[in-house]
Symmetry: D2
Subunit: 318 residues, 4 copies
Amino acid sequence: MSSYEEPILDVAHLGHIELLTPKIEESVDFFKNVMGMEVVHQKKQSMYLRACRDYESYSLKLTESKEPGLGHMAMRTYSSKTLERRALAIEESGFGIGWSDGDFGHGKSYQFTDPDGHTMELYYETEKYNPPPHLVPALKNQPQKCTSRGVCVKQLDHINLFASDVDQNSQFMRKTLGCKLSEQIILDIGKQGGAWLHLTNKAYEIAYTLDSTGAKGRLHHITYNVDSREAVLQAADVFLENGVFIEFPPSKHAIQQTYAMYVYEPGGTRIEICHGGYSITAPDWEPITWTEAERAKGQAWGNKTVPTFHTYGTPNII
Amino acid sequence: MSSYEEPILDVAHLGHIELLTPKIEESVDFFKNVMGMEVVHQKKQSMYLRACRDYESYSLKLTESKEPGLGHMAMRTYSSKTLERRALAIEESGFGIGWSDGDFGHGKSYQFTDPDGHTMELYYETEKYNPPPHLVPALKNQPQKCTSRGVCVKQLDHINLFASDVDQNSQFMRKTLGCKLSEQIILDIGKQGGAWLHLTNKAYEIAYTLDSTGAKGRLHHITYNVDSREAVLQAADVFLENGVFIEFPPSKHAIQQTYAMYVYEPGGTRIEICHGGYSITAPDWEPITWTEAERAKGQAWGNKTVPTFHTYGTPNII
Amino acid sequence: MSSYEEPILDVAHLGHIELLTPKIEESVDFFKNVMGMEVVHQKKQSMYLRACRDYESYSLKLTESKEPGLGHMAMRTYSSKTLERRALAIEESGFGIGWSDGDFGHGKSYQFTDPDGHTMELYYETEKYNPPPHLVPALKNQPQKCTSRGVCVKQLDHINLFASDVDQNSQFMRKTLGCKLSEQIILDIGKQGGAWLHLTNKAYEIAYTLDSTGAKGRLHHITYNVDSREAVLQAADVFLENGVFIEFPPSKHAIQQTYAMYVYEPGGTRIEICHGGYSITAPDWEPITWTEAERAKGQAWGNKTVPTFHTYGTPNII
Amino acid sequence: MSSYEEPILDVAHLGHIELLTPKIEESVDFFKNVMGMEVVHQKKQSMYLRACRDYESYSLKLTESKEPGLGHMAMRTYSSKTLERRALAIEESGFGIGWSDGDFGHGKSYQFTDPDGHTMELYYETEKYNPPPHLVPALKNQPQKCTSRGVCVKQLDHINLFASDVDQNSQFMRKTLGCKLSEQIILDIGKQGGAWLHLTNKAYEIAYTLDSTGAKGRLHHITYNVDSREAVLQAADVFLENGVFIEFPPSKHAIQQTYAMYVYEPGGTRIEICHGGYSITAPDWEPITWTEAERAKGQAWGNKTVPTFHTYGTPNII
């Protein structure tokens, strides 16, 4: 029987991410001047930023904190009705926190955690971005003029969460939110070492990978995309010229085929710049499964994953 | 009220296109050796071809014919159940033709036309591509090894149909099939000059543009995509070196922001090579409307659209 | 007999260009913020700017003036001795002006004009660029940190001079300075319609094209290069977003194979952004000759040259 | 005093390279079908191949042999006169072998070795490539139609020779042939660990790096270039899909700034695909010196050089 017959199509897409940072000024400077994003709002210890192609008012909230880490991640539903429906389902799962009145840029949200403890929220009502005069785009099908500053990232692409138990969390996201599984690593012990989930046709927006330290609720990285592989290479030069630590220089992933690189922002969070990957339009997609032996071959072109990839997360307890 | 509340989510994506060609051998040679596609099947006067990232067995059927033109275009539904539901809706619209037993690579299909007379079909059962040994890909998340031959196109991207009445046809596709409108041209007389429709998150898979000759049922072009704007430029050199007529050299479209170029295949059909465009994830996307005055500014960087774009279609009755 | 036997190898390369502009502030803003160059010096009505890969202290001098136009162009010799030798040869040609004490960034220079009246100078002593702390590059084989601002041009590439008589001027540059001819257009009347000259292995640094208005001493354009064709496309978007007039969107030239686009800076001078072209290492290169019939085919991919290319120059007397 | 005053400008450029291979058929298949080169001639156990932008008839000679290794490398002089002059200088150095009648594609040559024992030759008379009808290019300023096959390399770029004593060899090339030094590694012991030499404005055509095994006369790699960094990435996919061993995936070098990747051809020789680097037009260029401490930082973006880079050469005696 096709798994399509009763799909949950209630959650539309990843909306924004809140990062905690112990160095708020340096972090804001990094995202604004090196990444090329715009600050759109400030509220208490939080700054709200956007990439030029994000259609909502922001995709990143930076909040001052003693330790770096994930504040929360937010997903937008298809409608108010589907928001209510998902809130109910989450509540039944036992992982619900409750309703919030919303935040800058979006209306009421239902807050919860995944089994690993990452804080999440669902919302529907949102403010689409309305650019100030100096950021009105030349083409009316774009939300904002590109900044042409630094890396000039285009859009929030995906989030990768570290998890102490990948199966449990990926199952939760599939059953409770309607995420679909595109690819996975199955370890020799039979458990997932990684799971790539999607809500749109893009093959992944939320990934879980195994935290080899056994910690719970940590963040692996968040990702902004650019328009070409050449732009990823240009980004590498921008990071080099600006003294940003490059943990993993540009290379092609075997899983998802994304062309990507990783750096640390000043607060300590790992940031990925990517281009590519693929779309899934088949309603009956069969998840791709990678074994440990296959993973041992390294990335697509044979380079090894950097060891810190399996241990460094935020909050950082290596 | 949000237009999302009662969406039709029955049709998944554009599947394949049948082109008629009076020069079947030259056309096959073009798609195989210049475009870099693979011939997967032959049946009577028809040849079936695929691009390396198409997940189904083929995306192009070339059929020998006295005149060039569109044989038919096919869309895959999400399930057998949604196929039945759409067939019923089309039948009620009065544009139904009836059920077919299917063709190479897919099961039974429901055939119909749009109001302009373009032949279409819906199907669900399909054969996913199973590559022969010499085409097994290095990465298991790809359907086929890339050919590295000529333009080396990656995937069927979209189709553009000429129509004598764009409003009537785009309305039919929206109401009967559940296509969503991403962008449109509204002429000074208040009617659509063009309409860009999508089924997936990609902002267009089916476009209608006004046939200024007043003809009905003609094809404007079909499009295969490549992985970068650089690859579109490389394609231009491949076409130049192979003596293919370039009607419109690479430039950036204002509408949809696609980077694209256009050539004629030997049978006479206009073929586009493209990269880019954008995704729509907002469930409450407001269609972008372009006026005649805005269109008069030309493409994104100011170059004018070639005049034949408004008159040349297949069958070709300039 | 090889034409190499007695080559003149006294002039090393194009050094800098002085542009006149009636809108000095807007012009400086354009070159700094849109082109991504750095202002390194100011003297009276002149501003000195550089691109990040120029090894000398500057490549562009902007001087306030009532009319736009070419102030002068300067070439660096291989040595003081070859500077003296060329000065003598120019003096003998009758086009010499005389010695100058030099200017910001370079030592004494010999000034002269070509037969059409374009002011030129030769110099040897120069100040290599010594970046201030915030512009020290990450890699020691680069003269400056890239600015990652706007188009972020890399290097002065070439100059194109309009001439009332191309043959006379290209002959002067070959005989008196040792420029070599890589490509030319020979009109049906037997005279040169264009001549592309080089001093280094790059196939052109100085081009002459026929001014169809019959004017003398005008400038067609100056050119800065970027690192990829993708970067030329990115430049087009930067110009679009910044309201810069695009006269000729990105396309590939048949002559020289350069991928290029053209805009007007605020003062009125045509500016080209380019990537590519080829190198000539053969000591016995035979110049490529294009006929009018061949030129009628348009640029490499068939697009026509914009008509203003044959008439618009600075000072602008269309 | 400027070092320019008495330069040796007798040798024009690197011409071709002869590689020995124990697997001639597989090697020819690799260079033809994976690299996209053309076979232009066959003579006894040797095959002659070319890349589409090489202006001479060939740039690679493959000769069947029991062991892989460098047959010889050849450089073209500016004229017959400068060929005689260099032959004399080499003879005086004690490393001369003697005159040869020439080979397919070029006239008489003077053969010699460098101090490490790599066989070299100088020649002037050459056959420029005259393409057969199916390889006539669309643009007359190109020597050949591009093949659009596999990696589709464009031109022989440079050669890297392993040496037991880098100083001795780089001095020989500078004093006897007129090569100029652009960059070098100076080890803590005060000796060169690497030396990059050039004849044209391109910053290196011949490099020497230290063979940490102490062997003499080995080849590190030869390099063909492509037109963009994107094309290097495309090459990586072609190699992956064709089962070619990738020793070093695409990354940016700190030295010379080249974007490059390395594979082994079937006979065992390391082959580099590259794009980029820079040009030197300054007549008074000061060589860039890298210390061991600077080299310890890895490549430009921090990735480490693969260990086999210091030990694997052909003939291969790890």
